[in-house]
Symmetry: C2
Subunit: 281 residues, 2 copies
């Protein structure tokens, strides 16, 4: 189809947003629109300027015969700070506090707007980590893992507490829950992870970090590599965590005696000072 610049811009923007972290040859667009590569390059310059000034992502172009364009989504400081402050005010509601020091977050984790935004923020932090997969533990981490994986165009692998008939042969390990000190099992289908795959581990909530540590060990059991770890909310605790080198979006402190909670930004804050245009360049 022969399209004018204005229509090409709409169509290319939509196409790029739907194919993040995938290198698209310029010839794809020039054939699609029956336009010269020079026109396509000019279109891409307009899109790149817009994406970077709006801090919604980078557009990397590679020159040459095999050249192409790759959209890498991320989230700018302003939007990220706004998101974290929105989430803080959502979470700081006393009726969210449940017996045992747990927090009711099911409604927040049920909203695709929040989930997708959180996913985009986490994907920003790991934008240049060349991920092969995102791993999470059933159940509440699943939507977050998909939101991150969508932005990175990699598959999700879901670790389960027991093996299921629908998953074929599995690998299982035992691990010790950091907070309750009980021995638990985690299971992953044998076909789900390749050797040397670079895995980002994602979860919704971290108390002592036992589940995270278990997923690290499970990753190694497959001969794969932990490329990063991210949690939505970590619980502030006197005990040291069983893992380090993780990224947390929010940090929760609960004073059980007084039945109150406080929430502050997690260690992701230190990432937020880097302008989008400078990440991974």
């Amino acid at each position: 189809m022969k399209l004018k610049r204005s229509s090409r811009l709409v169509d290319m923007t939509e196409y790029l947003l739907r194919h993040p972290h995938q290198v698209i040859p310029l010839s794809y667009f020039s054939e699609r629109y029956e336009s010269a590569k020079s026109s396509i390059s000019e279109d891409l310059t307009i899109i790149k300027e817009n994406f970077e000034s709006q801090e919604i992502g980078q557009l990397q172009t590679q020159a040459g015969a095999t050249g192409g364009v790759c959209y890498m989504p991320c989230m700018g400081c302003t939007e990220a700070n706004q998101l974290l402050s929105d989430l803080q005010s959502q979470i700081t509601q006393k009726e969210r506090l449940l017996p045992g020091g747990y927090l009711y977050m099911t409604d927040i984790l049920g909203k695709p707007d929040y989930i997708n935004a959180i996913g985009r923020l986490i994907a920003s932090v790991f934008i240049d980590k060349k991920l092969d997969a995102v791993m999470t533990m059933e159940t509440k981490g699943i939507p977050l893992a998909y939101a991150v994986a969508s932005q990175c165009s990699v598959p999700v692998v879901v670790v389960r507490r027991s093996s299921k008939v629908t998953e074929g042969s599995t690998v299982s390990i035992n691990y010790i829950s950091g907070s309750s000190k009980r021995i638990q099992t985690m299971v992953l289908p044998r076909r789900s992870l390749k050797e040397h795959a670079r895995v980002l581990i994602v979860d919704d909530f971290m108390k002592a970090g036992g589940t995270m540590k278990g997923m690290m060990n499970l990753t190694k059991e497959f001969g794969a590599e932990v490329a990063g770890m991210a949690v939505f909310v970590e619980k502030n605790d006197e005990r040291p965590k069983l893992v380090d080198q993780y990224v947390s979006l929010l940090k929760l402190s609960i004073l059980e005696q007084e039945d109150t909670l406080t929430i502050e930004n997690g260690n992701v804050a230190k990432w937020l000072s880097i302008p989008v245009s400078q990440i991974s360049e």
Copy 2:
């Protein structure tokens, strides 16, 4: 920020795609770009033409002081047929057949590209149903439910097999699994669904339909309404299903004696003959 038309088109496309099924006042865009509403209207006409010719969705504009624009994602016949045929060839691999007549689909359900496309197709079918929530049963239906809900901008509610400490007070019902005839339990947090809410029930796989029927009953228990039901794969069976009025994308037949499977389009095919521009108009 004052932007030229070309930059406005990129920015508006991105904004609309990220805010589906939300009415955005024209004044939002005219203030954002310091442009006259007449220019914004012209921009929207270009975007509308592109979205409709590419069959990626409708752009409905409402005139008047309270007027605005609403992007409703959908998937055209060509793309939908291509998707279903891709999925069929993925699934028709003999090594996917597991003992007990189950199918290994974990890898397909792990790929965000497929999940998001399937979500967009299901959202197309229910484009004019004014949904308030998408419901699914843990665990494998969760990514699909979020993919649909993202396209419709409504929250997801996840039904569980047992109550969790992190979910507060719950409502539980017993139901009879259609295939194994066993009594099972399903549980939903009390705060997760409002009365009269219009619920779309989504799942990855349906054998006899017992889980679907359970979710229908659970929805009614909350005084909410079933606005529709959709499954990714339904199993072809001699026995009649426990539910009707559902949409299925694919239909699987297994000949256990011969250890072979066949897969064909589900009843969604009848939806695919309606051009995008005619849906809900």
